[in-house]
């Protein structure tokens, strides 16, 4: 049986903390980009302008059919060299990390757009008709009538997706970015204490995600009554 030795964790605390900050930064960036870009995609997909609807459908279906690992590898290995040759950037100007985070956000936007589309469609049609009858343009009725109601209904789902997204950030491991998991792995590898560090990382993720999902559920129950 393995003899546990947890002593390398306290010393590595600042390093692990930095990793957690990076994980949270990626999460928040991707949630914000995901919601904004996802809303635009959802509106395009529901729009009557056919080319926009096709573009959004193709985008969402493509990103949802490809594994996140593949998307990250595309944006980590391929896109930077493409950008370098297209924009004539000097070689070695390191855009790989920015690229990986962009890829991550673009990927998550596809999932957000599906949630948001369902949210918009869940608002009853009479709302749109009533807004038009009051003389609002399509844009106004979407912005002032439909979207506020849709977002209110969607908040729990958007937050749950945020928790999934936070778990997904661990996959930036493939792009050599030192997020929390990457940091834990590095410390474990360096000190020969991989078992302890991996168990510790698992426990940390569990505590964060479990508490967050509890809070979301609590919020969801409170909203149901209202």
């Amino acid at each position: 049986m393995h003899e546990f030795d947890w002593s390398s964790i306290p010393g590595a605390w600042p390093f692990l903390w930095d990793g957690m900050v990076i994980s949270l930064q990626i999460t928040i960036t991707a949630i914000l980009v995901g919601i904004v870009w996802g809303t635009l995609l959802a509106l395009m997909r529901l729009s009557s302008i056919k080319p926009l609807a096709w573009f959004a459908a193709a985008y969402v279906n493509l990103f949802r059919a490809v594994p996140l690992v593949m998307v990250l590898l595309w944006f980590f290995l391929i896109v930077p060299t493409l950008l370098e040759s297209l924009l004539g950037l000097p070689r070695g100007s390191d855009v790989r990390l920015a690229s990986a985070i962009t890829g991550f956000a673009l990927f998550e936007a596809a999932y957000y757009s599906e949630i948001i589309r369902a949210g918009i469609q869940s608002v009853s049609k009479g709302q749109m008709a009533a807004a038009s009858a009051l003389g609002m343009t399509y844009g106004q009725s979407m912005r002032l009538v439909v979207l506020p109601q849709a977002f209110r209904n969607m908040i729990p789902l958007l937050l749950t997706q945020g928790i999934i997204l936070f778990q997904d950030t661990s996959l930036v491991y493939v792009s050599a970015l030192a997020d929390f998991f990457g940091a834990a792995y590095k410390v474990g590898d360096r000190d020969g204490r991989l078992v302890e560090l991996l168990l510790f990382a698992g426990a940390v993720y569990f505590v964060i995600c479990f508490s967050a999902s509890r809070i979301v559920r609590h919020y969801q129950n409170k909203m149901k009554v209202a």
Partner: protein
């Protein structure tokens, strides 16, 4: 942009000389399929049991099943994979751990990846099974019990036959997910599709062709699974329910 497209690269013999690069891709493709399908079968079996346990009136059993689902849903897949691959052999009794470490390394990777994907997915399957059972009107269970069925018989003859048909559509997306999630297993060195794509980039210096081919392979899997499941969904659809005839 000065890039030399060269799709013939797939037909060239590999650096090690025993295969073509297309052969490598095909090996990865087979690995992805084998890994995903074997994990899926385990996930269905375990998920069905855990899902049923979540709905039984015994608080101990349902609590245990809930804990199972929460653990597997709240730890990232990558962390679970590393736990199975690096940590599990250390925590087993010494003799078992040593025996495991002496087996073929490919088998070790496959075994860890399969266990990881299977249990990760089983928690999600369990949630679908639970919501399928809970979506049935409570009268069904009561009627079964009133007819003199025992609780296991009620599940076997009344609840499950209906629930199984209702949860086919949500299971489709879980089935699609298991193929996509299998790409995570490239991180422990398992040579499945995504890993072979990376290898091809390193060996051929034709990154675009390699990645496009791998991405198309994932799209192909996706389309095939979607059509297959749509066919199944139509066959098992319950008349009178949403989406039914």
């Amino acid at each position: 942009m000065a890039y030399n497209w060269n799709w013939d690269v797939f037909l060239q013999p590999t650096a090690t000389g025993d295969d073509t690069y297309l052969g490598w891709m095909f090996y990865g493709f087979k690995m992805t399929i084998a890994l995903s399908l074997s994990s899926w079968l385990i996930a269905l079996a375990v998920g069905a049991v855990v899902g049923v346990l979540r709905t039984v009136p015994n608080r101990g059993l349902s609590g245990l099943a809930t804990a199972y689902v929460e653990v597997f849903r709240n730890i990232p897949l990558l962390v679970q994979l590393f736990l199975w691959y690096f940590v599990m052999p250390e925590l087993l009794p010494l003799a078992w751990g040593d025996a495991l470490k002496q087996t073929n390394p490919i088998l070790q990777q496959f075994f860890a990846a399969m266990l990881c994907l299977a249990l990760f997915t089983s928690a999600r399957v369990a949630e679908q099974v639970r919501s399928g059972i809970n979506s049935l009107p409570p009268g069904q269970k009561n009627a079964g019990l009133a007819m003199g069925f025992t609780l296991p018989q009620t599940y076997r003859f009344v609840l499950l036959p209906m629930a199984v048909r209702l949860i086919v559509p949500p299971l489709t997306s879980e089935f699609l997910n298991i193929f996509k999630n299998s790409a995570v297993c490239s991180t422990i060195g398992l040579l499945e599709l995504a890993a072979q794509g990376r290898q091809l980039v390193d060996y051929t210096a034709q990154p675009y062709e390699s990645f496009i081919a791998v991405t198309l392979a994932y799209l192909l899997i996706n389309v095939v699974v979607m059509f297959g499941m749509r066919w199944l969904e139509e066959r098992v659809r319950v008349p009178g329910y949403i989406g039914g005839k």
